[in-house]
């Protein structure tokens, strides 16, 4: 038996490259540890759970370092054809860094929110859910088959619904969670149907094999394959908050705890666009004539609707600051889609999607920074209206200057140099791909966006109403502000650090 069985066993038993899957795995494991530890930790010590989670996320991010030297794959098909379910290449590592870094900053913001929340939040569950969602988001860019992709999408999303509605006795919070849940589940179901169509036509779930076989689909099945491609995109477009899948965004952001809104705006988007990139560029490159124009239209629509809605926000309305950030994140999602759409028109699709990754890195740093300032202001002004930011410079000059910097980065004007050049790379992919009309639409949107960003900025420097009340910043918030601020400033001096992803292939 031994002579025959040994190669057979070797065929059946996959060897797992534990180092490659370490970052998402560690995140999930720390999540479980926190959940269990919550049962044994006395109430007074609960903040410890938060710091364990922060440490866990930092450790997971550090585990990316040993993976830098070369690409690794694991969970591979054994046999003649080589196809793997999990790949840690440059694209994966960059997006995992973005996800874990974003989750780390969210955790820093959450420590203060939970402390101020006076037991309105169940701590153990909060950290468990956050870490699970982060683990799913970190798994997603590494997935190289459609099943893992959908599973990762669900792992990233399901805890997020609970996080949105986690505040005890808050009607708005649970309503937002329900809205988010119902619309998201529908989108995922549609995606799943698309995947099944693709599987039906190609007989494989591995992205590389799908890419290979979908070119030779039987003529009768051609429509089925096309439908499958489009439907698969829907679930990811939903997570990116692309119009018309965006309607959940403002209410969800307002209803969710502030750090979770920040998390959704950055990590949620990362999940969406990395899935889109994998599906379009890796799985369906031969259907570029289908998804290219579709994404281009989606991008134009998304940025226009997002920016116009953000423009219409009234400064005195309750939660208008978060609402504005929510709508502006929809607008920014439009910019993120532009290079992916351009990838459908150029020969060098990898280079184009690199611009999305570079832009997302910039966006993650400055948007989380803006949310961190919003968290600072929310401590004294619970309604978090834009008009509450009036005179912030007099109360807290450094925070005001940082918010100015973050908003101008988002707007893409100096001194936010990194924001400017990130926009330039996005523009250049559009021009390079011959999508002149999309570039012009984006140009108009940049001007619209400047209006509301600058209006907010100008408000910071107005004379404050009433006596400026100073208060000390809690350490975790200071850390988050320092981290994002330093990142933004360093990147503005050396934009190459993130823009290099726009110049080379990532896969």
């Amino acid at each position: 038996m031994s002579a025959l069985a040994q190669p057979l066993a070797a065929n059946l038993v996959q060897s797992v490259d534990w180092l490659a899957i370490a970052p998402p795995t560690l995140t999930a494991v720390v999540g479980l540890i926190v959940l269990v530890a919550d049962l044994f930790v006395p109430e007074a010590r609960k903040p410890l759970l938060g710091w364990v989670s922060v440490a866990g996320l930092a450790a997971a991010a550090l585990l990316l370092l040993p993976l830098l030297d070369h690409d690794r794959s694991t969970f591979c098909l054994t046999g003649t054809t080589r196809a793997c379910s999990y790949t840690a290449d440059r694209f994966t590592l960059v997006v995992q860094f973005l996800v874990l870094g974003g989750a780390l900053l969210t955790a820093l913001l959450s420590v203060t929110t939970l402390k101020d929340g006076n037991r309105r939040y169940p701590q153990g569950e909060f950290w468990f859910l956050l870490l699970s969602s982060a683990a799913g988001a970190a798994l997603l860019p590494a997935s190289r088959d459609l099943a893992t992709l959908i599973v990762a999408l669900e792992v990233a999303s399901l805890p997020a619904f609970a996080l949105v509605g986690i505040r005890h006795g808050d009607k708005r919070s649970s309503e937002a969670a329900l809205k988010f849940f119902l619309s998201s589940v529908t989108a995922t179901a549609v995606s799943l149907m698309g995947v099944s169509f693709v599987y039906a036509t190609t007989g494989s779930l591995y992205l590389t094999q799908v890419a290979d076989r979908i070119q030779h689909v039987d003529g009768q099945l051609h429509t089925l394959a096309q439908t499958g491609v489009v439907l698969t995109l829907v679930g990811f477009a939903f997570k990116t908050a692309a119009v018309p899948f965006h309607f959940w965004v403002p209410d969800t952001y307002v209803g969710a705890p502030l750090p979770i809104a920040a998390y959704l705006s950055v990590v949620g988007k990362a999940v969406g666009f990395s899935g889109l990139i994998l599906v379009t560029v890796v799985a369906f490159p031969s259907y570029a004539d289908v998804w290219g124009p579709a994404l281009a239209a989606l991008a134009a629509l998304t940025m226009s609707v997002g920016n116009v809605a953000a423009l219409r926000q009234q400064a005195t309305r309750a939660y208008s600051a978060v609402r504005l950030l929510a709508w502006s994140s929809v607008g920014q999602a439009g910019y993120l889609l532009v290079p992916i759409a351009a990838a459908g028109y150029t020969e060098d699709a990898q280079k184009a999607v690199g611009s999305t990754v570079a832009y997302a890195l910039m966006y993650a740093a400055v948007n989380l920074g803006a949310f961190a300032v919003a968290a600072v202001v929310a401590r004294t002004a619970r309604l978090n209206r834009i008009s509450d930011y009036r005179g912030l410079y007099a109360r807290n000059p450094l925070t005001a200057l940082l918010l100015t910097f973050f908003l101008l980065c988002l707007a893409g004007l100096p001194p936010g140099i990194i924001g400017l050049f990130a926009k330039v790379t996005v523009f250049s992919t559009a021009v390079d791909a011959g999508l002149g009309w999309l570039a012009v639409v984006m140009a108009v949107n940049v001007v619209i966006a400047l209006y509301y960003y600058l209006q907010w900025t100008a408000l910071l420097f107005r004379a404050p109403e009433g006596e400026p009340a100073r208060h000390r910043l809690p350490a975790p918030l200071t850390a988050a502000l320092a981290l994002t601020g330093t990142l933004g400033v360093v990147l503005s001096g050396a934009p190459q650090l993130v823009l290099r992803f726009a110049a080379t292939g990532l896969f």
Binding site: T425, A443, V447, L450, Q496, F501
Partner: protein
Amino acid sequence: MIDISESVMQFLLALIVVGPLLGAVAALLPAPPGLKGKSPEQAVLRHGVTVTGAILIAAIVLALGFDQDHPSRMQATTDISWIPALDVRIHLGIDGISLPLVVLTALLTFLCALYSYFNPPAGPSPKAFVALILVLESGTLASFAVLDLLLFFLAFETVLIPMYFLIARWGGAGRTRAAWKFILFTLLGSVVMLLGLLLIGIKAGTFDMVALATDNGRSLTTSVQVIAVLAIGIGLAVKTPMWPLHSWLPDAHTAAPTVGSVLLAGVMLKMGTYGFVRILLPVAPDGFRTFAPYLAAFAVVGIIYGSLACLNLAKRGAKGDLKRLIAYSSVGHMGFVLLGIATMTPTGVNGALFANIAHGLITGLLFFLVGGLKDRTGTTDLDTLAEETGAALYGKAPRLGGLLAFAAVASLGLPGLAGFWGEMLALFGAFKPAAGLSRPAFLTFMAIAAFGTLLTAAYMLAVVRRVCMGAVPQDTPELADVRTYEFAAWTPLVALTVVAGLWPKALLGLTDPAVQQLLAGGTR
């Protein structure tokens, strides 16, 4: 003139661009011990004077060290890679075209800082004011010194935020609207310009202006050139401003504080015309040739339109605002600059560059004078000033009146003063435009533009009559005449206006070789 080693020149040019930025950061920090001055306000305003003064000295040394025998050669060049992913290089350098603009910018900013030191702007803390002025200076100087398209765009954008805040925080009536109009117009223009710059960069494979100019559009197809010139031209035309994209300018000038108006008219408008000469003419000559007649036509309409608007504002009972009038006169003057560029001849382009500098000197002076007048009388409204007979500035404050009359006469292009040569050369250029351009069309433009000079003379003289002349009523209080610091801030402008008028070769000798080479294709 004097021999300065190349590395020192490089350092000076880099200092001119970066120095004001560092100064701006320093202005926001608390003053170090020993430099605290009488009050924090005084200390920071003095800081502004020191930094801009140092930059002016650096610019003058740079001008002295400039090899005037080879003004067409890029000098004091630095070329470092910055963002390889986008192929952006920190490429700095000056030639005969940019050097005068660099010196003009440094001079005007220094004079503004000096003026503000003695006459602090009304509004919030001067700390931010000084920081914004310095950022503005850095952005303007950078746009004249950089030789990379994307860096030029960056410099072009850098001035937007400071100018917005200068108008919105320290401005007069209607400042919020004016500031918005300014920034939205300019940004829309410059984003469209970015698309054109990217198109050129992607199709030609480089963003380097020197390489692109040497290539002279040979690696760009005509259709690419046409689209790029249209896109870039719109962005630059908004900034210049060219009729009909000028409508932000009068509002911005009327609302801006004196210093803001001086810098806006004196140096920021030049960024637009400089872009036409530095980028469009050499990089996309075929595309430019397509649009040259239209550009000239718009320029000529601008000349007439600006003059008619001014005539209308200068009328009795029209409630004309002096600042607004000067802003409209800027539209007319910049029309001459654009006409000169549109001829695509060395004569026309030299005239355009000369008129650029002259406009910076004269209009800067005019805005200073009107600002001084506003400080004394509290208004810039012509009807309020002139009342029934005229403001009688000659009688009330003879030196101020004399200076105003001088600036007005210089602005209308009196031979012997700076305003004359630029407009004349631009007209000469239009008399014989470059090959491939329709001569009859340009002759018509020339005739109309020449008529525009008459209109300019008409409204300028009307202003002088209504503001400077008139009977001095016996019981009115004396107006303070020109103060010492005002003399200090204004004399350099007066002197340079006379020098440029009497000795145009000093400037033309610098620009002409560079222009010849740009038009022939290539900068060394």
